[in-house]
């Protein structure tokens, strides 16, 4: 029984950590946010060159067969650096989904492009009414002689503005909240009938709203089995939730450490505010909440690795805890930073905003608490 990283994992951690330390300070990050598409294309190429874009893919698919541990390692560091490049949306979610349900042709066509950094994909699965239920799909897929025709609206497509291809969930059969009847389609972003509105989110990332009007795709665009997409979507959602939680855990660590450091330098009433016992105990609580979320993260990662039946339950425990404790840690950090915590000069407020966004992605605290309860019966 050990929680040590392997040699390769340690190298990976050091590599990402060093990059964040040396090349990704908060000012750099701000510049990336302001660039076309909301991230730095050159940095993305660096990620490709450093081999980070291939980590989660099997060797067969051109990757190194990394698992949940490797993803956790990278995401924690990305969290500390507030990385805005579309790693989660393109590599983990879209790439992960392709690897899971794509056929050989689809994989060979696209995964290589993701891995070498030349292609960006985005999953368009959320709809305005669906909130956290990925089976709640009103976009329709009508099959025809030439393939399919898609109609509907998609919401909060992460980094949808810079994607060249969407993976669109659409309903081939059934009512809008049926678990059966949903299919996935690979849709070029420049297809006729797609309108996209690209917009920034408060955390400096980007998302897009899509409307699809009679968008035509060939039969070969079908990804996975017709009408059976929900399990794959929910499976990738669980994996993405763990990755995002890892990002949040990285931020929580940074937040409690930076708060401790700030409190030791900030003087009021002639002493560093770290001397005040009430603040000390609250910083201990921040530390504790980080350790708890870190433990739940390891638990979820280990159960994924072991293929345990209770993986989803562990994911919900983790995502719920991060929602509550992550936000609490960030709130406390701002309070202890005082006025400085309210400024964009410090990154502490940006951590809060990113944690809040993460809390809405793939289910907020209440959603996961309810799912935890239903999985406990």
């Amino acid at each position: 029984m050990n929680f040590n990283y392997s040699e390769e994992q340690t190298l990976l951690k050091d590599s990402v950590s060093r990059f964040i330390q040396n090349d990704y300070d908060y000012e750099t990050r701000k510049k990336h946010c302001a660039m076309d598409g909301g991230f730095d294309a050159a940095t993305w190429q660096t990620f490709a060159e450093l081999g980070w874009l291939c980590v989660p893919f099997s060797e067969e698919d051109g990757g190194i067969g990394g698992g949940a541990v490797e993803t956790m390692i990278m995401m924690e560091e990305f969290g500390k650096g507030l990385v805005v490049e579309p790693y989660v949306s393109t590599v983990l979610i879209a790439g992960g989904l392709l690897a899971k349900v794509g056929n050989a042709e689809q994989k060979s066509e696209i995964l290589a492009g993701i891995i070498d950094g030349s292609r960006k994909l985005a999953l368009a699965a959320v709809e305005p009414q669906s909130r956290f239920d990925l089976f709640d799909v009103q976009t329709t897929a009508t099959s025809s002689a030439e393939g399919y025709q898609l109609n509907g609206a998609k919401a909060m497509v992460l980094h949808g503005g810079s994607a060249d291809t969407f993976i669109v969930s659409a309903r081939a059969a059934g009512d809008s909240r049926d678990r059966e009847g949903v299919s996935l389609f690979l849709v070029p972003a420049d297809s006729d009938g797609i309108e996209r509105q690209d917009f920034p989110t408060l955390d400096g990332h980007r998302a897009a709203e899509l409307t699809l009007s009679n968008v035509k795709v060939p039969a070969a665009a079908l990804l996975g089995m017709d009408g059976a997409a929900v399990p794959a979507l929910e499976s990738i959602a669980d994996e993405a939730a763990v990755a995002l939680a890892a990002e949040a855990v990285g931020m929580m660590e940074k937040l409690y450490r930076e708060t401790v450091e700030y409190s030791q330098n900030r003087k009021q009433f002639g002493v560093p505010i770290s001397a005040f016992q009430a603040l000390q105990h609250r910083m201990v609580d921040m530390f504790t909440m980080h350790e708890e979320c870190k433990s739940l993260l390891l638990r979820a990662v280990m159960s994924h690795k072991a293929g345990d039946a209770d993986f989803s339950k562990n994911v919900s425990a983790l995502k719920y805890a991060v929602a509550v404790k992550g936000q609490k840690v960030a709130h406390e950090a701002i309070q202890i930073f005082g006025g400085m915590g309210m400024t964009d000069e410090m990154s502490v407020g940006m951590y809060l905003k990113r944690i809040n966004v993460i809390n809405t992605l793939f289910g907020n605290g209440d959603y996961h608490l309810k799912r935890f309860i239903s999985l406990s019966v």
Binding site: F132, M156, E209, Q268, A278, I334, T343, L352, N356, K370
Partner: protein
């Protein structure tokens, strides 16, 4: 024991309501709901109140006050907030105005008070400094005497609306050798004086309300000093302890909860309106219960002042609980809005989400400014509990 309003107070309340019904047009209400209000709109509303003679209820009648009882003032503030009127900018009307009519000389009163009442001149507050936050008396900005002027050098921070302001009232150090609270003077400074620079602070809500104000050899006539040299701390303290009825923000929180309920009725979660979700309702109800308690705590404080006494110990919790409740409502509102709470695009999602987020983020400051909640707890521990 009686919380019924007297017939006189009922008549007064009805008068206020009729006034608000007539004058508080939808334009003002929409601006309030939309988040930050532009200066013009606020000024227009303040001028309407001025014309009615209701702009400064707390001021003594000889300076333009209304002569209302504390109960009437409370009714007025409550009705305005419940009706969704813009909040008055406090720096002139509630801060420097009372200092001027209490400690200023006749010339200062004549010169400054009318423009404050008429909203002709905007003020901002120069108290906080980078090294002096909760420990306000640690301020370093210094004013050195040079004939009939002071030469002011230093820096103020967190100056709300400095970018809109014509004047700033400042605490400055006029005696560097005296003890912390001594050696501080209270100066009124024209923001157009050479040597003043206002720099925007980028804040987490992506709005512009906070600033830094730099003073580089700024010449301020000694005639602009309030009261005696080195006695500024006394005047500032007066301000901090000055009757502040609306500190708990009860009607504002009530309105925010109403708004949240409307949003939760529109938002769909798990296929049904969020307002039908028991887990959500439980969180909302907990906040409502706290607000119901706060509302009565405020009434108790008002009643004890109306009765000729000082506010009781219960009043000490108004700021702490008021700001905590505001934050809790804002957090839950953000949660209710789902994804779109975090979207910055024009026309993306529902139009109610963006102001909700701005309010939530800016609202993090509520527990920091005006004496942080930690400092408030220290004060209660010492002054109320005797610890």
């Amino acid at each position: 024991m009686d919380i019924q309003l007297t017939p006189n107070d009922v008549a007064f309340r009805d008068e206020v309501r009729a006034f608000l019904k007539e004058k508080l047009s939808d334009r003002f209400k929409r601006a309030v709901v939309g988040g930050y209000i532009d200066k013009d709109t606020i000024v227009q509303w303040q001028k309407i109140l001025y014309e009615k003679g209701w702009i400064a209820p707390s001021w003594p009648t000889q300076y333009g006050g209304t002569g209302w009882s504390i109960t009437q003032k409370f009714i007025f503030e409550n009705e305005c907030a419940e009706a969704g009127a813009p909040t008055l900018v406090p720096f002139g009307l509630k801060m420097v105005g009372p200092v001027i009519y209490t400690f200023g000389n006749e010339e200062q009163k004549a010169r400054f008070l009318p423009d404050i009442l008429q909203s002709n001149v905007w003020w901002c507050q120069g108290y906080s400094e980078p090294g002096a936050g909760s420990d306000l008396a640690a301020l370093q900005t210094r004013a050195e005497r040079d004939g009939d002027d002071y030469i002011v050098n230093g820096q103020k921070i967190w100056t709300t609306y400095a970018q809109h302001s014509d004047w700033i009232f400042c605490l400055v150090r006029t005696d560097g050798n005296a003890k912390k609270q001594e050696g501080i003077s209270f100066l009124l400074i024209d923001m157009n004086t050479p040597g003043i620079e206002v720099r925007k602070i980028d804040s987490i809500d992506n709005q512009h309300s906070l600033n830094e104000v730099f003073f580089d050899n700024v010449k301020v006539p000694v005639a602009n000093r309030i009261g005696e040299e080195n006695k500024g701390w006394t005047y500032a303290k007066y301000l901090l302890t000055h009757e502040r009825t609306a500190i708990a923000g009860v009607p504002q929180s009530k309105r925010a909860i109403e708004r949240l309920k409307q949003i939760a009725a529109q938002e769909i979660s798990a296929g049904k309106p969020l307002i039908e979700d028991e887990m959500f309702c439980a969180k909302l109800a907990r906040i409502e219960v706290d607000l119901m308690a706060l509302e009565y705590t405020e009434l108790r404080a008002i009643a004890s002042v109306a009765d000729g006494g000082a506010p009781g110990p219960e009043s000490s919790i108004l700021k702490i609980r008021g700001t905590e409740i505001q934050q809790a409502v804002a957090e839950l509102s953000v949660e209710a809005c789902g994804y779109y709470a975090h979207a910055l695009g024009q026309g993306v999602g529902n139009d109610y989400a963006a102001p909700i987020s701005t309010k939530y983020l800016y609202g993090r400051a509520a527990t920091i400014y005006g004496g942080s909640n930690e400092v408030q707890k220290n004060i209660i521990a010492k002054m109320v509990l005797g610890l």
